[in-house]
Symmetry: C2
Subunit: 144 residues, 2 copies
DNA sequence: GCAGTCGCAACGTTAATTGTTACGACCACC
DNA sequence: GGTGGTCGTAACAATTAACGTTGCGACTGC
């Protein structure tokens, strides 16, 4: 499906900020998070920018600038993150309009649309069951 | 997510073959299906080739060649089709290994792997609830 | 033998993601 | 009121996958 890592990196960043704050720090920099995720700070800033638009984090500029959580990890779910960083649907329709003269070509898109909607609703329900607090707990539970 | 249309096109092809056979024909050609789906016959042959490997369709060569169902539409689910045409996982991990010296970098992949496995299992369960017979029924139920 | 179709390789096009560089905007601190 | 560190964002390259297209050999009913 050409899956991407946006949800994974976003969860990584949130868990990192959350843990950092619990250790007494005010803000985390994109540089620090990028080092942990082994990527470029701009990639982190782009993702965190989307999370900021969704109200999950805040950013401060100037000296001592950086990122902090806008809400508790307990109140954020993977669905919040998913909706912030993944705009499109899970399955795509035909890239060109199927033959409307054909019975199947005419009915296939409404049919699949209905089916896909139900499936995506279930997916969203599953994502909503996992909080970022759950994620951080699982992260810290990893052996050694 | 850069969703693709492989599942949609594969379902389209199966519904088309199924309906065509119910109307008394033996085999359907990739040319006919491609016309209905408004794409190239090679694209259809590639997808149907994967469905053949999964035991969902059969192909005949030579004169009067084409494609036919290997099983009844009632016995095929979207999960069968999905597994035949979508090899990879839904969500990707980091493209490079995160910093193993960092607590979060070390624990994030096992944590997300476990979470993603549960979610994908639910997705598979949902896909398995829809048969291709359901799809064809919905296709024929589309207004006018 | 011939015609029609599959099987498959090869290549081009398009689009999304990710990585990178660059630079202006901002602001706590001195 | 400078200064240094960080964000915000644009721009571009690199990589990858999906999709479309052409070409041609293989197969087989007639």
């Amino acid at each position: 499906m050409s899956a991407n890592s946006r949800l994974t990196i976003a969860a990584h960043a949130l868990a990192w900020i959350g843990l950092y704050q619990r250790r007494g720090h005010e803000v985390a920099t994109s540089e620090q998070i990028a080092t942990s995720a082994n990527t470029n700070p701009v990639v982190i800033r782009r993702l965190l920018g989307e999370l900021r638009r969704a109200g999950l984090v805040k950013s401060r500029r100037g000296v001592g600038a950086g990122w902090s959580l806008a809400r508790e990890l307990e109140s954020m779910t993977l669905l919040d993150v998913y909706e912030a960083v993944e705009p499109g649907p899970l399955f795509a329709m035909h890239r060109t309009t199927p033959d409307q003269e054909c019975v199947v070509g005419h009915g296939i898109q409404p049919a699949m649309r209905g089916i896909y909607e139900g499936i995506e609703e279930t997916l969203r329900h599953e994502l909503a069951r996992v909080t970022l607090e759950n994620v951080l707990r699982d992260v810290l539970a990893a052996p050694r």
